[in-house]
Symmetry: C2
Subunit: 295 residues, 2 copies
């Protein structure tokens, strides 16, 4: 059965309308998704014409990209759709013209839903959850805490169980330092911060392991030894996620009362309007939204 997915069209100046129009014409998406698109009908008609696909039906929304997100979110919260998929917007343009406090979809949805969230990058071979995100590397050692690592580890396990249908998810947690500190020779954060978090998650019934040396861990995770990896900082998680399956890796927000997905690319203003936008990441995001909504 097709699942109702609310879709925000993204920034009209970027490739959002183009990837939405193309993705909704894709056979795999048509079979899995009943779309409720929020945005600007004229922008979507132009985008559809550019790729010679049918223009999708749109619920016309006044305002910019953030207004489209809010309207799509309202539809999900009202029960009109069971998942949310967001096309890319420009943080800078939203902050400038719609909401000066805006720093990104993930944070905005957390505030609007009143929940604590985490970001997962989900690809065919690897799922990575971040314990910290857009921070200078120098801030990471003092920003990570046992409490936060335990939270994301438990959140990953509970969502993999509830939404992915994995009965006993195996979660591997990275160390912070090379070789996970090699017994304390290169840093003590593994013993002081990471190990207690893993113990806490295990005490709560999660099959969590680590801290693992990150460079050795990802090849094992890729081969299926774990259902998700908790990375302690942005590049530790994003480098392997993007390297393995660039076009099929989907950004998933964990911790919301519904599944939310998005393609992991930006508005790509430089190629907008040229007929060059690759819809595959948006297709992956829509298919995953439908799959997660099914449970």
């Amino acid at each position: 059965m097709r699942k109702k997915v609310a879709i925000s069209m993204g920034d009209p100046l970027g490739i959002g309308p183009e990837v939405v129009a193309q993705a909704l014409a894709d056979g795999r998406v048509r079979a899995a998704v009943e779309p409720l698109v929020f945005g600007d009908a004229a922008a979507l008609r132009s985008a559809a014409a550019l790729y010679r696909v049918a223009a999708p039906q749109v619920r016309q929304v006044q305002g910019g990209a953030l207004a489209f997100v809010n309207a799509a979110l309202d539809a999900v919260l009202a029960g009109e759709a069971s998942a949310l998929c967001t096309a890319p917007l420009s943080k800078e343009r939203v902050a400038r013209s719609e909401d000066p406090r805006f720093v990104g979809h993930t944070e905005h949805l957390a505030v609007r839903c009143g929940t604590r969230v985490a970001m997962m990058m989900a690809g065919p071979r690897l799922r990575v959850v971040l314990a910290s995100n857009h921070l200078a590397l120098a801030e990471v050692p003092r920003a990570i805490s046992s409490e936060q690592i335990a939270f994301v580890t438990q959140l990953a396990a509970s969502e993999l169980r509830a939404r992915w249908g994995i009965e006993k998810p195996r979660i591997a947690v990275c160390g912070l330092n090379p070789h996970a500190g090699e017994g304390g020779i290169f840093g003590d954060e593994e013993a002081r911060i990471v190990a207690p978090a893993i113990a806490e998650a295990r005490a709560a019934g999660v099959d969590a392991s680590g801290p693992h040396a990150a460079d050795g861990l990802f090849p094992r995770a890729m081969k299926g030894a774990y259902d998700a990896v908790v990375a302690l900082y942005h590049d530790q998680g994003l480098i392997p996620a993007k390297l393995l399956d660039f076009r099929e890796t989907v950004n998933v927000t964990l911790g919301l009362p519904f599944p939310r997905t998005s393609p992991d690319h930006g508005t790509a203003d430089d190629i907008a309007g040229q007929g060059k936008a690759d819809p595959e990441p948006m297709i992956s995001a829509l298919l995953l939204a439908a799959r997660l909504a099914q449970r």
Copy 2:
């Protein structure tokens, strides 16, 4: 023409003798390498018997794994061989029983040859050079310097030219922070430390670019956009290198007066003597040593 490669057998308690014996029986290695093996003949005979391959000829050396390395190095320095390939040893055992100052092959070879070196991980799709290595993550932001980054960038370019035969090597340098700091929002090391190093390398005639956001850079480098990537810290470089081509990625020391390679695994004491050692990484290391020696 086969190239003379001096080979140290590695720690007799680990899988070194097993991977050496197997690798030297491999047809690809026999075609490319004229081996001069330094170590213990009895250990190599046992290892060869375990895998039912011919026992290699050995120059018997008194002492332990470090003595084998020193004898192999002496042979290269005396002109008896044109490259060095080292099987794994245990840093802890060498430090305990042979030389308390020993911290690893790379550092030992640098001291004995009186040169400044850098470590490269070279695989079929990606070459990564490290600007820092076994340091706690918290130390990295203050340990990296423009001078060191410029040094490794220029060293990578000069060795790729001289030994790999790449006329104008394209070297990409990673940023330290997520999104390479996104214009200074997450850290200023890109502007303060990395960009001046790239400018210095470019002034010296190197086709260096960056600082690049590391998560977006590695997929492009994998597809051939660059000949090598300079990573600023251990996991930034080792995560992608190991994820892509685990068994074929070879540790290469740059900056020595001869090519030195080694497989990127340890002594694996837990499987030693069981007939389970995978020779493929040692085979890759020997083939690369021969290839680099040919120029």
